[in-house]
């Protein structure tokens, strides 16, 4: 066992790889060169189009023990990963590692293939039933949870080597040029797939909208793609992007959003050139909504919005409140339409978005990020991976990346969920270290990290309900009582990798 600087015990090795204990957010220096792959030659007359997935898998030379990947832009509407694993299973190939950018509840369909040995491990975080089954010990399948920036780093450094990338290509030509803006499975940005296109040994584009050469604009180019396969459908468009994303109408959510917007205003960052990121949840959008009003009222012109992009941000771009949107993933139809038509709406890859080991990621330019949590603790550590039952249910996404990068990282979270207090003595799982979290906003008060005494004073001056985090915790626990502690077995089912590749925590099997 090894101990992180935050006091968590982690295994010495996990899934055959040495675990380096987390030390701090910024000092780990990378060594060595970028990963590379074999040169290839394609002569005139070469045909990339394969008759079906099976033929493409055979052509790619996929063998037992290899690693495959997909991207998660089709979210819970994705049919490709399940389709690929079925085809691999039918070929009798075993011990495959999945290194997708994320796995969603729809991929619970993979469970039988974990039991059968087709799938050996996940080199990525998982959302939903797979993590739950692993937490219960019902499947044996090591899971390495990574941030979006951390995945980019792991592919770039060669820590994760993808043998065959299957890239869902909503609009694709026979030579492999693709984008996400047209076709029945249009998902907008293909930002998470660009890493796979760059580093996977073999790249297979899979499309349900094969168009004559050339497709433009080009998000991923023909030079990266080895094979092209047309399938009937990549997924369920209803579940790929929302028709709209809306702000919350929940009074508690609105109260939290109102406080968060006040904190941002008090921070002094809300001025010309302001840059901002928030998620697609109702409370996050309500913060964006309040900020929009404040920016309009004060005539503030921001610089950029980033991350997963919603119609809300598109409206702000069109109203001139941001000059640019850096879009790694589109959340709704309005964002998809915009990325295909507005030159200020820029598609970016996960590397540029959040990788700590390159010439500088966009997250480092962020003024403010609004983030969620399943739990926080009195040291400001944040858990987004496990739930109150101890099950691994959520992937990290860009949480730790943006928290580390932004000048002001704000957690918005209700103080009580399902009768449980959300501020704990110690979170079940540390996803994002408290060193990178500045403010926690709940409906019962605002806790400011001690590093920001100026901000704390300014909030008090503005009569906002600033409370010491322990005081806030006690107030909440006075209502809820202290929940019974979770009990875990010793065996580690997943490690939580920090963005720099060190291990910040691990997830253990829950005692039955």
């Amino acid at each position: 066992m090894a101990r992180t600087s935050l006091g968590r015990w982690i295994p010495e090795t996990f899934d055959g790889r040495l675990c380096r204990p987390y030390q701090d957010p910024f000092s780990l220096q990378p060594m060595g060169q970028r990963a590379t792959r074999a040169l290839r030659r394609v002569n005139p007359g070469h045909n990339k189009v394969m008759a079906n997935l099976t033929e493409a898998i055979l052509a790619a030379g996929l063998k037992d023990g290899m690693t495959i990947s997909t991207h998660h832009h089709l979210r819970n509407g994705d049919a490709l990963l399940n389709m690929v694993v079925r085809a691999i299973h039918a070929l009798g190939i075993q011990d495959i590692t999945i290194a997708s950018s994320s796995v969603h509840p729809v991929h619970a369909e993979l469970l039988p293939y974990i039991h059968s040995g087709t799938i050996r491990a996940f080199e990525c975080g998982v959302n939903g039933l797979i993590g739950e089954m692993a937490s219960k010990g019902e499947i044996r399948c090591p899971i390495t949870v990574r941030t979006h920036g951390g995945r980019a780093r792991a592919l770039m450094s060669g820590e994760v080597r993808v043998d065959v990338a299957f890239i869902a290509a909503p609009c694709c030509d026979p030579f492999g040029n693709m984008n996400g803006i047209a076709g029945p499975s249009a998902c907008g940005s293909l930002g998470y797939a660009t890493l796979d296109a760059d580093y996977a040994e073999t790249v297979i584009a899979v499309t349900d909208y094969l168009q004559p050469y050339p497709v433009a604009p080009i998000s991923i180019a023909q030079t990266q793609v080895d094979y092209v396969v047309a399938v009937e459908s990549l997924g369920d468009p209803q579940k790929i992007v929302s028709t709209t994303t809306r702000t919350t109408t929940d009074p508690i959510g609105l109260m939290i959003a109102g406080y968060a917007a006040e904190v941002i205003e008090a921070s002094g960052l809300l001025k010309d050139g302001f840059s901002f990121q928030t998620g697609s949840g109702g409370t996050s959008l309500a913060v964006a909504d309040r900020l929009r009003d404040k920016m309009l009222a004060a005539g503030i012109k921001g610089s950029f919005g980033s991350g997963g992009i919603t119609g809300y941000f598109v409206d702000m771009l069109e109203q001139g409140l941001f000059r640019t949107l850096f879009d790694v993933q589109c959340f709704d139809l309005q964002a998809v339409r915009s990325i295909g038509s507005n030159p200020g709406h820029v598609e970016i890859g996960a590397d540029m978005y959040a990788n700590p080991f390159n010439g500088g990621a966009i997250v480092n330019q962020l003024d403010v990020v609004i983030l969620g949590a399943t739990e926080v603790d009195v040291d400001f550590n944040v858990n987004v991976n496990t739930e109150s039952n101890g099950y691994l249910l959520h992937n990290t996404g860009g949480h730790s990346d943006t928290a580390a990068g932004a000048k002001l990282s704000i957690i918005t979270v209700p103080s009580i969920r399902g009768r449980l207090p959300i501020i704990r003595d110690a979170v079940t799982t540390i996803t994002t270290p408290g060193e990178t979290i500045d403010v926690i906003v709940t409906e019962r008060g605002i806790a400011v990290n001690d590093r920001h005494s100026d901000l704390k004073e300014e909030l008090l001056r503005r009569h906002l309900p600033v409370k010491d985090i322990r005081e806030l915790q006690q107030e909440i626990v006075a209502l809820t009582g202290q929940p019974k502690p979770l009990e875990f077995e010793d065996d580690v089912i997943a490690v939580i990798e920090y963005r720099d590749g060190s291990i910040i925590d691990c997830v253990r099997r829950v005692k039955a």
């Binding site: 109408t249 009074p251 508690i252 609105l254 109260m255 009580i416 409906e443 009569h463 209502l479």
Partner: protein, 308 residues
């Protein structure tokens, strides 16, 4: 509340008495008062459970930052009396009495409250009454109801039941309510108590809600019953004093402070006399502005009333 004259009752939010998830948030909302409802919001088979929940909640809500009224079931129902017996020991600020059609009904509640106060050993008059004027009969009797007990601190108009009793539809424009509202207002103002307007049920239609709040403020209502916390801010915005009102109020207070130093209670400001009623009005404006975070100002009773 020490000085009832200055009790702001702009926003009075209904909270269902059978929902713990909503009750736990009562301390958080920025409304001036809540009406915890044991009447229409609570189904018959939950009346008992709601009483227990509400009384426990009020008893634990010791850091009061708003007034707490309980809307009991009408006294001629099988639940009204028991509601009182269960919730009063928890010390709410008062009772919102539904279907207060006659002064006799309110007097009956007054008697019951006195009995409970004796039993609980608290000062007579502790528990206030806000009668709901919500029928044609109630509107006709409003003038007597407003004066029938010193516990009555406000009349609350209830348009949903009123329109039902009139066999008419309620409209968003509210023309059909005009006469009833005016009579409730006269009754309240003549008795020197507050007047609280009816709920606006369509939470999604904030524009019409804002129009209605502006209308009732101009008519003279001092507050409004609300069905959703999202409506609170709108009421406070509409009821907020204007900047020139606040500036003038501060000048008045500063003038009276100078006057008291000179040993008098009257002084001229910009050629107009400043005396007790002007100071009280100014204090009301300042307290309203402070309570809405529009102003940072320490105002002592001594300034308003002078040293005793």
């Amino acid at each position: 509340m020490a000085n009832d004259e200055f009790s702001l009752r702009r926003s009075l939010l209904y909270v269902p008495g059978n929902m713990p998830s909503m009750l736990q948030n009562v301390p958080l909302f920025h409304c001036d008062a809540v009406f915890i409802d044991l009447e229409d919001a609570v189904p018959l088979n939950e009346k008992d459970a709601a009483r227990i929940l509400v009384s426990r909640f009020i008893a634990t809500y010791t850091q009061r930052n708003k007034e707490v009224f309980v809307r009991i079931n009408a006294l001629d129902t099988p639940w009204g009396h028991e509601d009182l017996c269960r919730v009063l020991p928890a010390r709410p600020d008062g009772i919102r009495l539904p279907k207060a059609d006659t002064p006799e009904i309110v007097e009956r509640l007054d008697t019951l409250l006195t009995e409970m106060e004796e039993e609980l050993n608290v000062a007579i008059g502790t528990f206030k009454i806000i009668p709901s004027i919500e029928s044609a009969l109630g509107v006709i009797n409003a003038i007597k109801i407003a004066r029938c007990s010193s516990r009555v601190i406000a009349l609350a108009f209830g348009a949903e039941d009123y329109t039902a009793s009139m066999e008419i539809e309620r409209t968003k424009g509210g023309e059909e309510l005009f006469h009833a509202r005016a009579r409730v207002l006269w009754a309240a103002k003549a008795a020197g108590i507050q007047a609280i307007d009816t709920i606006f049920a369509d939470v999604g239609d904030m524009a019409s809600f804002r129009t209605e709040v502006a209308l009732v403020k101009n008519l003279g209502f001092t507050g409004k019953s609300l069905v959703n916390p999202r409506q609170i801010d709108v009421v406070h915005e509409v009821f907020a004093p204007q900047k020139d009102e606040i500036d003038y109020a501060i000048q008045v207070i500063e003038a009276i402070v100078r006057a008291r130093k000179m040993g008098t209670g009257v002084i001229a400001l910009n050629g107009k006399m400043v005396d007790a009623p002007v100071v009280k009005r100014a204090a009301r404006v300042i307290r309203t502005a402070v309570s809405q975070g529009m102003l940072d100002y320490q105002l002592d009773d001594e300034v308003i009333y002078g040293t005793h």
